[in-house]
Amino acid sequence: MSSHGTNASAHGRASLRTEMKERTGKNTARCYQCGKCSAGCPMAGETSLRPHDVMRLVNHDQRERLLTSESIWLCLTCETCTERCPNGCDPARTMDALREMAVAASPGSAPRAVLAFHRSFLDQIRLTGRSFELGLVAEYKLRTGALLQDVATVPGLVARGKLGFIPHPIEGVKEVRRIFEACEEATRVAARGKEGA
């Protein structure tokens, strides 16, 4: 039980609760498990860990269990939990931080489809500066193998003039790529700093 509620875990690094406070500025220890976050969560019926479970596990330094959990990836970022938390604990921002940590620590644990979507979406921005929907769908299908998904809707999208076929890169596309590189590098440096702490 040495890791529970202390600032330094058995591995010698800061406890998850302490790291969370550094990342989000919010004190998860203020959570008193009232469950209001989970009561309003649209995905609570589909996740094994509900928002108040996640808060509890953060306070108990259950890093491994949280970072390999599918549940943090099923959060829709609808912010209902944070809006309703009577103690200002910010479960939504906590979930954001956990996902960011999971991408670095154990990307394999994210549901394939969800992470494939995020990666395909961000790749489109890197490529053209904007999200190009056809490219996004094509890359997503290649990443997941769901080649036939939604194919039947293509004629409907085309008939309504909703599907562009040629991406138009913006002038500042190189600038956008530099922003991606700079953010990814700064995130890596910050993560290394926390490892060493």
């Binding site: 961000l122 921005i125 809707t153 953010c183």
Partner: protein, 314 residues
Amino acid sequence: MRVGYYPGCSLHGTAREFDESLRAVAGPLGLELVEVDDWSCCGATSAHATNHLLSVALPARNLALAAEQGHDQVLAPCAACYNRLASARHAVASDAALAAQIPDLIGRPFPNSVTARNVVEVLREQLGTLRKKTVRPLAGLKIACYYGCLLVRPSEVCTFDDPEAPVSMEEVVAATGATAVAWNRRLDCCGGGFSLSRTGSVVRLSREILDDARAAGADAIVVACPMCHSNLDFRQGALVRRGEAELPVLFLSELVGLALGLDARTLGLERHFVSTKGFVERAMAEKPAPAPKQPPAVKPAAAPAPASAQKEAV
């Protein structure tokens, strides 16, 4: 009023009609939309879900461009873009270390001087003009105003209305002459960005919203977010094919456009998956209440139908 315009990626693609209808109503309402030159994607949910710095830096580039181009406010009609721009502005304002980092990350000065504004608050500011310019009051039409998540949450970022009991969309709808119905699911999530990666969840959540709006007697749902529209309109197709009744889903700017007397094609109302034809016909029908100047041959169908018949008609 001159206002910077940040259409965002969806309005150039699957939500074209949001862009078309907004540009069409801007003039009559006294808004001059000046598109931010060379804008880039805000990063949307994918940046937000995976990299905090990126989720601030991508919107920051656009706000910096807007500032350089002389804007002090930017209208972002997409609720996700609005939320990301406003969140970035809030994050930088409340974190000095982040504020110091941003110019290096985006390679531009970042004065954080540009306010992000959503379409509901901007339209609400023009209520007087809207009432004056309404030539086709939408009397008799019942509307379920759907806010979803990103317009009102988190409330420390989205400050224009109450996060649990908002009224602004209902005020705009009332100005068009239509009636906003009371219903339960106007603040619930539609499934947002899971449309491709977890379609089953989206259909479950969207169906609850559609069913509740229908139970409240709504003739249509009005939204101000391309993702909400896609999930409620495009994904409703699967439910309709199973034999469920259609419920049209309009952008708020389309409803305003109908009241201003604009035609369905200009407003992009023919681009929807769930037909808006019946709704538009009722909107265009001469209302019996204020004596029409030159009463054309009023067909019985043109008069507002009783509640029971309305449901069938939808």
